[in-house]
């Protein structure tokens, strides 16, 4: 099964199985990982599932849609070029091994 590694703000790493079709956000909340809030439950409405994708893996992720792009302008922690909303990162085979860092705060 594909895996994603979540790095907390203070460097702690957790690797989780993420089934195809499940989002990086869903896997994290199902596991109860601190660091992803996901208030809207994945509707791309809240920007509390913000992650930084490892730079060299950005191209493996699905393209960003307008709504995500706009919501990223309103994140609680600074937006960076590798910022994504993890609810929009739905697992596909190419994303296996993805490493995402969680921001200092989501709210």
């Amino acid at each position: 099964m594909p895996q994603v590694t979540y790095v907390s703000h203070d460097g702690e790493r957790t690797t989780l199985d993420v089934p195809l079709g499940t989002s990086v956000m869903q896997a994290a909340t199902l596991h109860g990982l601190d660091g992803i809030v996901a208030e809207c439950g994945g509707s791309c409405m809240c920007a509390t599932c913000h992650v930084y994708v490892q730079e060299d893996q950005l191209a493996k992720c699905p393209e960003m849609e307008l709504g995500e792009d706009a919501m990223l302008d309103g994140t609680a922690s600074p937006r960076r070029p590798n910022s994504r909303l993890s609810c929009q990162l739905v697992m596909v085979p190419e994303m296996d091994g993805l490493v995402v860092t969680m921001p200092e705060t989501q709210t």
Partner: protein
């Protein structure tokens, strides 16, 4: 330890969106005392919005509804008591009573009891086939009925009724919505947005009776078979969804002598007149600096979660007035509605974008005060609207109507 001592910690009544978030935020803020989360539903805390969306549609299962897995509560030392109802508050003894007789003492009590379905005083509401959509149990029952449904009648054209209608139509079920006033979502969106949504639902085959009153629900052999309107019409139905709004669960507070008025009355810190009792979320009536009229009682995930964070911060010694900008969303089939701010009391609506195409925002004004912005299939506008309104920046009606006006620049400007 005497009852009411510091070791009794925080007791939260209601394990929904707000209650869960208080517990989680207390721990996140380093609160070290006891945290007890009591909820009368038998499940782990779960999210409500998907109930009328992907969950009802069968696109996602129970595991995806959960706020967090069971282990989360143990790891964070949150004493979760599911399936337990609080029946009374003893303010003098600083304890709550549970159904079945036990008592739990508190230093601070948070009421996060939410709201319950408004049940109309109609003959026939007790018939088999009359459904509601508020909690998981009701949604499971509704889902099962929907699978075998031949004719659905929805009473009330609010968010829940419309979200249900979109899913039912997607399954090919005929839907007839009966609404007392002349337009959909009349309490919360402007007439232009009502008109757009009404038309789009009609295009998918939803039938509407506006300005119509249900007189009774009729049945045979204990099962619903049709709905009678006040003009004498009979609408065939083997499923009737009643979605005419909710009433706040305020009785615990009222019986304990706390003020209630369409919700538990709290101040700008979300505190009741008893300094040991807060109220949040759907059950709380509070003053909002974003509202033209006060107090307000809101039904939104944002409201419950931000209230929860505000109370948790106060309980760890970082008090601040509650000032978060209200926002809300609804998904009805392909239609996505997002609202930033509180538009109640608006006098003027300025449309921006392509209304006919269904990609627009409605800027709602009272005088030159921008109260709120409804965005329809325009997520970028919504994101900017939230920033604008939260920062109290001005956008005049003329600017809003001007396609060359740069909303992003206005929203992201400094100062």
């Amino acid at each position: 330890m005497a009852s009411g001592g510091p070791a009794d910690g925080v007791v939260i009544v209601g394990a929904g969106h707000g209650g869960f978030q208080v517990a989680a935020s207390l721990r996140q803020n380093g609160f070290d005392g006891r945290v007890t989360l009591i909820g009368d539903e038998p499940h782990l805390p779960y999210q409500r919005p998907p109930l009328s969306k992907d969950y009802l549609d069968g696109k996602s299962g129970f595991d995806l509804l959960l706020m967090r897995p069971a282990a989360f509560f143990a790891e964070h030392r949150i004493e979760l008591m599911s399936g337990r109802a609080v029946t009374a508050i003893d303010r003098t003894g600083k304890a709550v009573a549970l159904a079945g007789g036990s008592r739990i003492a508190y230093d601070h009590l948070v009421l996060a009891t939410g709201a319950r379905n408004r049940v109309p005083p109609l003959p026939g509401v007790e018939l088999d086939g009359v459904c509601y959509l508020r909690n998981l149990a009701e949604t499971d029952a509704l889902k099962e009925r929907l699978a075998a449904c031949r004719n659905a009648v929805v009473i009330g054209a609010g968010f829940i009724g419309l979200e249900f209608a979109a899913i039912a139509r997607g399954k090919g079920v005929p839907v007839h919505i009966v609404e007392l006033v002349e337009r959909v979502m009349a309490r919360v969106v402007c007439p232009e947005t009502s008109a757009y949504f009404g038309r789009e639902h009609q295009k998918t085959g939803v039938e509407f009776s506006f300005g119509a009153r249900v007189e009774r629900i009729a049945g045979e052999g204990g099962k619903v078979s049709y709905v009678v309107l006040d003009d004498g019409r009979r609408l065939p139905a083997d499923l009737v969804l009643i979605s005419i709004g909710v009433v706040p669960n305020e009785e615990l507070a009222a019986t304990a002598g706390l003020a209630v008025a369409n919700g538990v009355v709290v101040d700008e810190r979300l505190l009741t007149a008893d300094p040991a009792i807060s109220a949040i979320g759907d059950c709380a009536s509070f003053p909002s600096r974003h509202s033209l009229r006060n107090p307000v009682r809101l039904e939104a995930v944002q409201n419950a979660a931000d209230h929860a964070r505000c109370v948790a911060a106060r309980l760890v010694g970082k008090p601040h007035a509650y000032e978060a900008l209200p926002w809300f969303w609804s998904e009805q089939g392909a239609l996505r509605l997002q609202i930033a701010g509180l538009t109640t009391g608006f006098q003027q609506v300025v449309l921006r974008g392509e209304y006919e195409k269904g990609e627009y925002s409605a800027f709602c004004y009272a005088g030159d005060r921008l109260l709120g912005i409804e965005s329809i299939n325009k997520p970028a506008d919504h994101a900017f609207a939230r920033r604008l309104l939260a920062a109290g920046r001005r956008v005049t009606p003329i600017e809003a109507a001007d396609p060359s006006f740069d909303l992003r620049a206005a929203a992201t400007a400094r100062g």
